[in-house]
């Protein structure tokens, strides 16, 4: 009987713990125990200085291969990293991103970087967070040592809005007609 009570109590404790874990506000997409959400990183950037961390997100902007054998780009860890607005994703505010530097050979062969009508590759980067790096006159960035591609990049389709197009064409036609009539009446006067 006592054993049974203990097991009930243990079950309740486990259930409460599970419920409490579920009640924790949602972290950035894909975040698990080993990844650090970029929003948290930016909020306490100083605390992470020099730490080896893993972040996950979409590579956006450009791949800047520099002469010193490094490649610079930006990693975004926000809702758009998985579904951009152009792709029908929800609006959740501004982008949340950090600069990343990696050895050039790591960046070679990656899918096109994220941008308009392009979801960049979704990657998991591990490296050292350098906050106000004295060797780069105060820049903050992730110095990447390893990368895992979680999802390849992909193209997004976006066609014209035919209603807007038709209204635009109609307005321009009206303006040209008004101009023609005004010029004709001026010439007549």
């Amino acid at each position: 009987m006592r054993l049974s009570e203990r097991s009930v109590i243990r079950s309740v404790v486990v259930m409460v713990a599970v419920l409490a874990a579920l009640a924790v506000p949602g972290r950035a997409f894909g975040a698990d125990a080993t990844t650090t959400p970029v929003a948290d990183l930016l909020e306490a950037a100083d605390d992470f200085d020099g730490a080896t961390i893993t972040v996950e997100g979409e590579l956006v902007g450009d791949y800047g291969f520099r002469d010193n054998g490094t490649m610079w780009t930006q990693l975004n860890d926000d809702s758009y990293a998985r579904k951009a607005i152009v792709d029908g994703g929800a609006r959740t505010g501004a982008n949340i991103g950090i600069g990343v530097r990696m050895p050039a050979e790591l960046g070679e062969g990656l899918d096109p970087v994220g941008g308009y009508r392009l979801e960049g590759p979704l990657v998991r980067l591990t490296g050292t967070w350098r906050y106000h790096d004295p060797d780069r006159a105060g820049e903050s960035y992730l110095d990447v040592v390893s990368m895992v591609v979680v999802e390849p990049g992909r193209r997004i389709q976006e066609g014209p809005d035919w209603t807007v197009l038709a209204i635009g064409a109609l307005l321009i036609g009206t303006a040209l007609l008004m101009r023609w009539r005004r010029r004709r009446s001026t010439a007549t006067e």
């Binding site: 930016l42 800047g64 982008n95 820049e139 635009g168 307005l171």
Partner: protein, 498 residues
């Protein structure tokens, strides 16, 4: 007795507005062409709609041909103030249809911010925005910074140019006629455009490793935002995206050029370097810049934000220059900027409020007014120390020796005071919504002085009234009050006049 504007007054205003809107419609063909070349058909449709609306309204206004095209002072001011309302309203159409804005108000917020060369932004998922829409955002800086109405002055002759010119907050005519002055302003801009885009593009390719196409895309966007002291950027991390002091340095040169008055550009172009460095305005801006840089450096050193002097110098110098020139670029995230407290906050806030030179694309109180106000205060103190009956007179040098009259001193001080009131209004509204004093003041000065630096208050989720307040601050701050007061007076006379 207050006189109600006559039908002829309205015809004059409508006709001038019609002409300006037609010119804006023509300028808007540029992003349409960009969308066509990039096969961005969704933005293409919305650009077509925007151009169509500009053109229809333009042609409609031009139906009201007045007996005389000569604009008097109040007509010109009203035309300018209305232009700066109508253009952002219609110019926001492509943003509304892009899906990147939470509401039409947010889209108009960014258009006002772009046109007034402020740089505060409510765009969401900027990093996936269509290049043509990004181009339009930055082109708004160029149109607003150089002056839409000034562009119109270049393209069409007609009476009333002077009042339109002054209406856009420019108070020095460089050449004998307003039209030739307007042409000079646009020539300076085009010259800088070619040189700036070339230099930034080459840096982008050679130092940053971008391909040529992307290098020139970035260089064009950053040029518009730097030279017109705007502050928008094509990527969400602003200038911090580039991780290059070479790129930052080239951008700083453009920011300084943008914060310089066109009179100074003209003097430098003619080789009158001596006069430029003797000017009250140059000396004032140099002094205030050194003071604000000093304050910020000490503030950052005290908090130990940067471990070494190199980091403190590079980051501190860039942020203060960005603030003082009214640009609004940053190389640190807004969450970090928000942590700059004490003297660093004071230095930044002061730099933003003081602004650049008069008749430049920068906002804020402006250095000439600051210099004149300081001289006037010094004269008052001197007067108190002189024997009874003696009169202290003050002269200053601004492209020649001039006497500081009481009227001039009063005018400078009044405008400075109005700016302080404008900053306090924005801060007051934000505080009423529960924001902290420091962040409320920072963001308000940034909006009123057309800077664009943010400590995180400007966000799509902020209250609508606060968005409207910042929009009002950007509009009034850019036009330096006069045109806005004229519009309010015109409207009041229309309602209450006889």
């Amino acid at each position: 007795m207050l006189l109600r504007p006559e039908r002829e007054d309205l015809r004059i205003v409508a006709f001038a507005l019609g002409r300006i809107l037609t010119i804006v419609a023509v300028a808007s063909l540029l992003p349409l062409a960009w969308a066509t070349l990039g096969r961005e058909w969704h933005p293409f449709a919305s650009f077509l709609m925007m151009i169509g609306l500009f053109a229809v309204l333009g042609q409609f206004g031009m139906l009201f041909r007045p007996k005389t095209e000569r604009l008097d002072w109040s007509h010109g001011m009203v035309v300018v103030a209305l232009t700066w309302i109508i253009v952002p309203a219609i110019g926001s159409i492509p943003f509304v249809f892009s899906g990147h804005y939470g509401s039409p108000l947010d889209a108009m917020f960014d258009t006002v911010s772009g046109l007034t060369t402020t740089g505060l932004a409510l765009v969401q998922d900027l990093d996936h925005l269509a290049p043509s829409l990004n181009f339009w955002r930055h082109l708004l800086h160029f149109l607003g910074g150089q002056g839409i109405v000034i562009a119109a002055l270049v393209l069409f002759a007609g009476g009333g140019g002077l009042t339109l010119y002054y209406g856009e907050a420019r108070d020095e005519r460089i050449l004998p006629s307003v039209r030739s002055t307007a042409r000079f302003i646009w020539s300076v801009a085009i010259l800088h455009l070619v040189a700036g885009v070339l230099v930034l593009g080459v840096i982008g390719h050679q130092f940053l490793g971008f391909d040529w196409k992307r290098a020139f895309f970035h260089s064009l966007m950053i040029f518009f935002a730097a030279f017109d002291t705007g502050g928008f950027s094509p990527q969400s991390t602003s200038l911090g995206y580039y991780h290059s002091y070479v790129f930052e340095f080239a951008t700083m040169v453009l920011m300084v050029a943008g914060a310089m008055s066109f009179g100074t550009h003209f003097a430098l172009w003619r080789g009158s370097h001596g006069a430029v460095f003797k000017n009250l305005e140059t000396r004032t801006i140099t002094t205030t810049f050194l003071i604000t840089v000093g304050l910020t450096f000490v503030g950052l050193a005290v908090t130990g934000a940067f471990g070494r002097i190199a980091g403190l110098t590079r980051q501190g110098f860039f942020q203060v220059l960005s603030a003082h020139s009214g640009t609004g670029f940053s190389t640190v995230p807004s969450v970090e900027l928000a942590s700059w407290s004490g003297l660093a906050f004071g230095g930044m806030a002061l730099a933003m409020g003081l602004g650049g030179m008069a008749s430049s694309t920068a906002g804020g109180i402006k250095s000439l007014r600051v210099g004149l106000a300081a001289k006037a205060i010094a004269t008052q103190v001197k007067q108190l120390l002189l024997p009874e009956g003696a009169v202290a007179s003050t002269r200053y040098f601004q492209f020649g020796r001039k006497r500081l009259t009481p009227e001039l001193a009063q005018s400078a001080m009044t405008v400075a005071l109005l700016y302080v009131v404008l900053f306090l209004i924005g801060a007051g509204v934000a505080i009423a919504y529960g924001y902290g004093l420091q962040e409320a003041l920072f963001e308000s000065i940034s909006a009123g002085a057309s800077v664009g630096l943010s400590v995180g208050v400007t966000d799509p989720t902020m209250p609508a009234l606060l968005k409207l307040t910042y929009m009002f601050q950007m509009w009034v701050g850019r036009l330096e009050f006069v045109a806005v007061f004229a519009l309010l007076g015109f409207a009041y006379a229309w309602i209450r006049g006889k």
